[in-house]
């Protein structure tokens, strides 16, 4: 133990053994969270589990499910393959070591549970209840987003003959991913009105939603919404009256009056008037709007866009509201206009705001146990003895640990140096779990630095077979090699090629993982510079590179491999042209490739069409998950 370790608690009781599937990390049955299941579980039980980690959101309540996990088609290899098929699994994922989100609770040590309960109590409430109120009470179409970040779609490509069609696709399970603690919103969306007060109160009462409850809650929420709206309207009117004096020359003055009184009288909400282009210009020349105005404007725009027919001011088009909102988002959160618009178009309005909010919050720290050297329970024990506050991540993984707080630097403990764990985002486990490399196989990781996924694969293969770890950047191969050695992976060959040179260098791999270089829009919380330095050209270049890489990756897989024939494609960005578009391109260019279910239980299906572009139907097998 370090000499400065503060022994805050006594020896914890030993961890209960988590259910482990022999050799198969994530199975469908792990942490199944169907919408129905969640709703019918009893509240207290759920609460207990919630307090351990992020609460699952009942997907029925939520409009959408976030959390995409690629369903690993592990079932496929075990079945006798009629015609050897190659399945390429595509995954999009949050890349990165530090962040972790979207994991499930796991039944585990009582001691840990008790410790973590206090930590999680409040944060979970907020997360969970936010949704309850939403759908029932407000007119909003969009449900609140818990999952903040979208990852790209996860898909599996199956390179094989037509016989493959017979194989039953693994059913995609709806699963809610656990979100990290949601920060108090800076821009409360409409749904917040319901959640703010009810967080603490309602959490315990959140039982199955009955008619009685709904009515009562509806009324309560309506009352609250009305109250808040009145307050907002008041503010608006004050602001407008103050600002009117300077806007005399603008034609909108009359409009302003009319709108205010007209709509304000009706509902007490619509005192908000969308500034015209001229007004915005004036604002800019005055040195930019102040934060509060922007905040208010954003909130109002979101509300209006939520139910345009009812709330929109007369004569103002939807696109004006959208445009104002986007430029406000850009100025408020610090994005450039291009990126703000691009990300805004990926989500419904309220989700988009949630997304931007979430990118401001740092993700929790997670670590992955190195099964070559230790076991999760032993590692947890050792770290707790050093004074680290941690908890196992969830049912879907038996190697993940989430670190809450630590009195010692988590990246410098003797256990870390001895290679017992790796700092890695929880979402980074997913592509490897979906790929499921088997012992004795030949596996390629085309963009592997700094080596989190490579070492994970080597651990899954139990140091047998061979893993080719490639990275185009020679300087980054240093850290890759260092991590490989530190974690004791003996079957890794590290090389430094441009990924597009495979399979010329060597081909015939059983499985290939392509964690493509991307724009990083999914990990903005880790690297805020992405907000400003990405332009349209960057996306075009990246997309082109990714398309080339994926074709090379497909060609490197050996279609008639006895045990494999899979490719997993993943990125850490949320945009469509880096994910669905690339996968669709690959499907078109390589007709012998098929998309397969990922075997992961959470995640939202990828888009099959987006803003005029249509993709193959099979792309719904891919998974978008928000992750930490």
């Amino acid at each position: 133990m370090g000499r400065r370790a503060k022994n805050k608690q006594g020896d914890p009781s030993p961890l209960l053994e988590v259910q482990e599937n022999a050799g198969r990390p994530s199975q469908k049955k792990l942490g199944k969270r169907k919408a129905d299941d969640v709703e019918t579980t009893k509240r207290p039980a759920k609460k207990a589990r919630e307090s351990e980690g992020k609460p699952p959101k009942p997907s029925a309540l939520k409009g959408k499910e976030k959390s995409s996990v690629k369903v690993a088609t592990k079932a496929k290899p075990t079945k006798p393959k009629p015609a050897k098929q190659k399945q390429a699994r595509f995954e999009d994922e949050d890349e990165g070591a530090g962040s972790s989100e979207g994991w499930e609770d796991v039944e585990d040590d009582e001691g840990l549970k008790a410790q973590a309960k206090s930590l999680f109590h409040n944060s979970d409430d907020e997360d969970f209840v936010g949704f309850e109120g939403d759908l029932n009470d407000l007119d909003m179409d969009e449900a609140d987003q818990d999952d903040d970040m979208f990852r790209g779609p996860v898909q599996e490509l199956d390179l094989g003959s037509d016989d493959d069609e017979d194989e039953p696709e693994l059913p995609v399970k709806g699963k809610k991913s656990k979100q990290h603690e949601r920060p108090t919103k800076i821009i409360p969306t409409g749904s917040d009105a319901s959640s703010d007060d009810s967080d603490e109160d309602e959490d315990d009462e959140d039982g199955p939603i009955t008619i009685k409850n709904m009515e009562a809650r509806s009324r309560a929420l309506d009352a609250r919404a009305a109250r808040e709206a009145e307050l907002d309207a008041e503010e608006m009117r004050q602001a407008e009256l103050a600002g009117e004096a300077s806007d005399d020359d603008l034609a909108d003055v009359d409009d302003v009056d009319m709108d205010e009184e007209g709509e304000g009288g009706e509902e007490g909400e619509e005192g908000f008037v969308l500034p015209t282009a001229e007004e915005l210009e004036e604002e800019k020349t005055r040195g930019g709007p102040d934060v509060h105005t922007v905040q208010r404007r954003m909130r109002e725009c979101v509300r209006v866009l939520g139910n345009f027919k009812r709330y929109a001011a007369k004569g103002r088009s939807r696109s004006e509201y959208v445009q104002t909102l986007i430029s406000d988002i850009a100025s408020y959160y610090g994005y450039n206009e291009f990126l703000a618009e691009k990300l805004f178009q990926l989500f419904p309005v309220a989700e988009a705001i949630e997304f931007f909010e979430a990118n401001e919050v740092p993700r929790p720290v997670t670590i992955r146990t190195n099964t070559l050297r230790t076991r999760r329970r032993d590692l947890a024990q050792a770290l707790i003895n050093r004074g680290v506050n941690l908890e196992p991540i969830g049912k879907w993984t038996n190697v993940g640990l989430q670190v809450f707080e630590s009195s010692v630097p988590i990246g410098a403990t003797p256990e870390y140096l001895a290679g017992h764990y790796m700092l890695q985002a929880a979402s980074s486990f997913l592509p490897v779990i979906a790929l499921a490399p088997q012992p004795g196989e030949r596996v390629l990781d085309m963009a592997s630095a700094p080596g989190g996924k490579t070492t994970h694969m080597a651990a899954l293969m139990q140091n047998t077979g061979v893993v080719f770890a490639n990275d185009a950047n020679k300087a980054r191969t240093k850290s890759l090699t260092a991590n490989v050695h530190r974690l004791g992976c003996k079957n890794v060959v590290v090389c430094s090629y441009d990924g597009r040179e495979f399979p010329k260098v060597i081909g015939g791999f059983d499985r290939v993982l392509l964690d493509a270089p991307c724009s990083g829009t999914g990990v903005i919380s880790k690297d805020a510079s992405v907000k400003t330095n990405k332009s349209e050209r960057d996306f075009t270049l990246l997309s082109h590179l990714q398309k080339q890489l994926i074709l090379c990756a497909i060609d490197s897989v050996q279609a008639d491999s006895k045990t494999g024939g899979y490719l997993v494609y993943s990125t850490c960005s949320v945009t469509v042209d880096e994910n669905e578009a690339v996968v669709d391109y690959a499907l078109r260019k390589r007709p012998n490739v098929k998309l397969v279910d990922t075997g992961l239980e959470f995640g939202r299906p990828g888009f099959t069409s987006y803003r005029g572009k249509t993709f193959s139907d099979k792309l719904s097998l891919t998974r978008r998950s928000s992750g930490a």
């Binding site: 133990m1 050792a382 410098a412 140096l417 030949r442 191969t477 490989v484 050695h485 060959v493 090389c495």
Partner: protein
């Protein structure tokens, strides 16, 4: 990548024998999979033969590492054992030293092991013998060379050095840049 020459092999095995002695034969003749030593850019790698055969298809300028790096040959031709070889050393070590929890951190910072930090030591360890350093939980922390034999160690005062530090796992952080 090329196989080691006679002199190079001799140098490597001499160094290894200092720590694991006769157990070198376990490295060379393994029951499960035959392994071999290969040289790439002055570094000695210990790798299974099947992996090595696949790695041949990687060109020399592009090959960074294969299997486990044991150490490297310095410019003057001496072989220096690196911390990355710890796994194998710890497995086959003949003489071991365990240090107390309060002595872990100083050793990981690169200091020598003092008598005050000594937990256990294998009996009849001669002087200037290569030893592997463990924590009390049997986690290998590094290796070194004894300053005194076991019998002499008993007579020393607590601030005396008993094991000279050669390599420790803290180097993964301290020498990140130069390790590879």
């Amino acid at each position: 990548m090329r196989p080691l020459t006679e002199e190079e092999s001799k140098a490597v095995f001499a160094k290894l024998a200092n720590y694991i002695g006769k157990n070198i034969v376990h490295l060379i003749d393994r029951q499960d999979e035959p392994h071999c030593f290969r040289l790439q850019k002055d570094r000695v790698f210990y790798v299974s033969e099947s992996s090595m055969r696949l790695a041949i298809s990687v060109a020399r300028p592009n090959l960074v590492s294969l299997g486990t790096c044991f150490g490297k040959f310095t410019k003057s031709g001496k072989f220096k054992l690196h911390i990355t070889a710890l796994d194998y050393l710890a497995q086959y070590a003949k003489y071991k030293v365990w240090i107390k929890p309060n002595g872990e951190m100083p050793f990981l910072y690169g200091n020598h092991v003092l008598k005050a930090h000594l937990g256990r030591i294998t009996e009849d360890t001669p002087e200037h013998q290569g030893v592997v350093v463990f924590s009390m939980n049997d986690i290998p922390l590094g290796f070194g060379v004894t300053a005194r034999s076991t019998v002499d160690t008993r007579k020393l005062d607590p601030t005396a050095i008993i094991v000279f530090h050669q390599a420790d796992v803290g180097e993964y952080l301290r020498d990140e840049e130069t390790l590879f």
